[in-house]
């Protein structure tokens, strides 16, 4: 347990060790540790952000879903209305067409009746003349008596 030069030797060794530690050991290790701490902090905050983003996205998705549903129901309503309208319109058209056809048929019938009456009238006039000829035993000058004949025909 003698105190001797070892004391000084130890002090020198100690000083050199401390110098080396200050210069070459401490800075890189603490730098790496700080860098990792920062990395972890960044990662954690990124995770927080991501979960927030996810929440927002889910909310947005739900909103969009809701909106889509509403739009779809509006479209369906419109389509139903439109279909009803179309059915209504085609019914209307059909009725109008039918009425038109009936009208046409009536007009044709009327026309044919008029024609037939005219034809009949002429024929009756001719028959009347023939009958009159028979009675008078002479021919009737058609030209001379045409005025009378027309009168007759008009009366029929």
């Amino acid at each position: 347990m003698n105190i001797n030069l070892t004391l000084i030797g130890q002090s020198i060794a100690f000083a050199i060790f401390v110098w080396f530690c200050v210069k070459y050991v401490w800075p890189p290790i603490t730098a790496a540790m700080q860098a990792r701490q920062k990395k972890i902090a960044d990662g954690l905050s990124a995770a927080d952000r991501a979960s927030l983003d996810l929440e927002l996205a889910q909310e947005k998705a739900a909103q969009q879903m809701q909106q889509a549903k509403e739009e779809a129901s509006v479209l369906i309503d419109q389509a139903n209305k439109r279909a009803a309208q179309i059915v209504e319109a085609s019914k209307d058209d059909a009725r109008k067409e039918g009425e038109k056809l009936i009208e046409q048929a009536r007009a044709e019938i009327q026309q044919e009746r008029v024609q037939a009456r005219d034809a009949l009238r002429t024929e009756v006039a001719l028959l009347a003349i023939a009958g009159a000829e028979k009675i008078l035993e002479t021919s009737v000058d058609a030209k001379a008596h045409s005025e009378m004949l027309d009168k007759l025909a008009a009366q029929l």
Partner: protein, 283 residues
């Protein structure tokens, strides 16, 4: 090797001393030095007669080896350090560094980039030197005596030269930073005007404060040395028991030292930080 228990204990507590013997000194075997020369001491008496001009080769060798182990290990990690997932070794080193960093952060509030690495060096170095105690007390001395070396003590912290070597380094730093932070007048004022702030009491203050200052390195060194030395003595005493009975005491004592060894390293480190923090405090 020694025969009686007392000789055995004395032998195990003697450092391997390489020193200067003066001309005319009578050696252990009766021969007389014709001229002064550096040589290994063969007896405790010779070692103590060498006085200050001697070196404990074992203490210096093992402490420097432990210091290099510490620096080598930490430098190895520092060059391969990754900010990603650390390996087992890097993890161990980082845990140590973080432990010291937190100690310094809590105890030292001034800004000084030297303190934390200093504390790390002190802590790991003393821890490694103390840990040499786990090697059974006879292994290395026997190996050394087989190599022709009379004495060999491997735990440097059981040598007051080692503990005082470190604490004097710390003491010089205390003085240096006291002067640097407070200036010569500030430091002188601190020594002279405390605890009694009156000019007439300056001598009393001076005596008290200088004593307080001087006691710091002494208490640092003696606490570590005393604990380690006493532990070592007990280990040696246990080694005197019959070989089949030794483990009954050796084991609990060694397990107890798992606590003591880091604790002493921690106390030395913590007090260093506290002392240097006080040196940085400007009143």
């Amino acid at each position: 090797m020694a025969d009686t228990p007392v000789e055995y204990i004395k032998h195990h507590l003697q450092n391997l001393t390489y020193g200067k013997l003066e001309a005319g000194y009578e050696r252990f075997d009766g021969s007389v030095m014709s001229e002064s020369a550096w040589t290994f001491a063969r007896t405790a008496q010779e070692a103590s007669d060498m006085g200050f001009m001697a070196v404990h080769v074992d203490t210096l060798g093992w402490s420097i080896a432990m210091g290099l182990l510490f620096l080598g290990l930490f430098r190895y990690v520092a060059t391969r350090v990754t900010t990603g997932v650390p390996g087992a070794l890097q993890n161990l080193v980082e845990v140590t560094v973080e432990f010291i960093e937190n100690l310094v952060k809590d105890g030292f509030h001034a800004r000084n980039p030297l303190i934390a690495p200093l504390a790390l060096t002190i802590f790991v170095w003393i821890l490694l030197m103390n840990m040499l105690k786990f090697i059974p007390v006879d292994y290395v001395p026997m190996l050394a005596s087989a190599m022709g070396l009379e004495y060999f003590k491997i735990v440097p912290t059981t040598d007051p030269n080692a503990t005082f070597g470190i604490s004097i380094g710390v003491f010089l730093l205390i003085i240096f930073y006291s002067l640097k932070v407070k200036g010569i007048t500030g430091f002188a004022k601190e020594l002279g005007m405390q605890p009694f702030n009156h000019w007439a009491l300056i001598p009393v203050n001076l005596v008290l404060e200088v004593l307080v200052l001087i006691v710091k390195p002494i208490s640092l060194a003696l606490r570590l040395f005393g604990n380690m030395y006493a532990g070592e003595v007990v280990f040696i005493l246990i080694a005197l028991l019959p070989f089949w009975a030794q483990w009954t005491l050796n084991l609990p004592w060694a397990i107890f030292h798992i606590l003591v060894i880091p604790l002493q390293a921690f106390i030395f480190t913590m007090l260093t930080i506290v002392y240097l923090a006080a040196a940085h405090e400007d009143h």
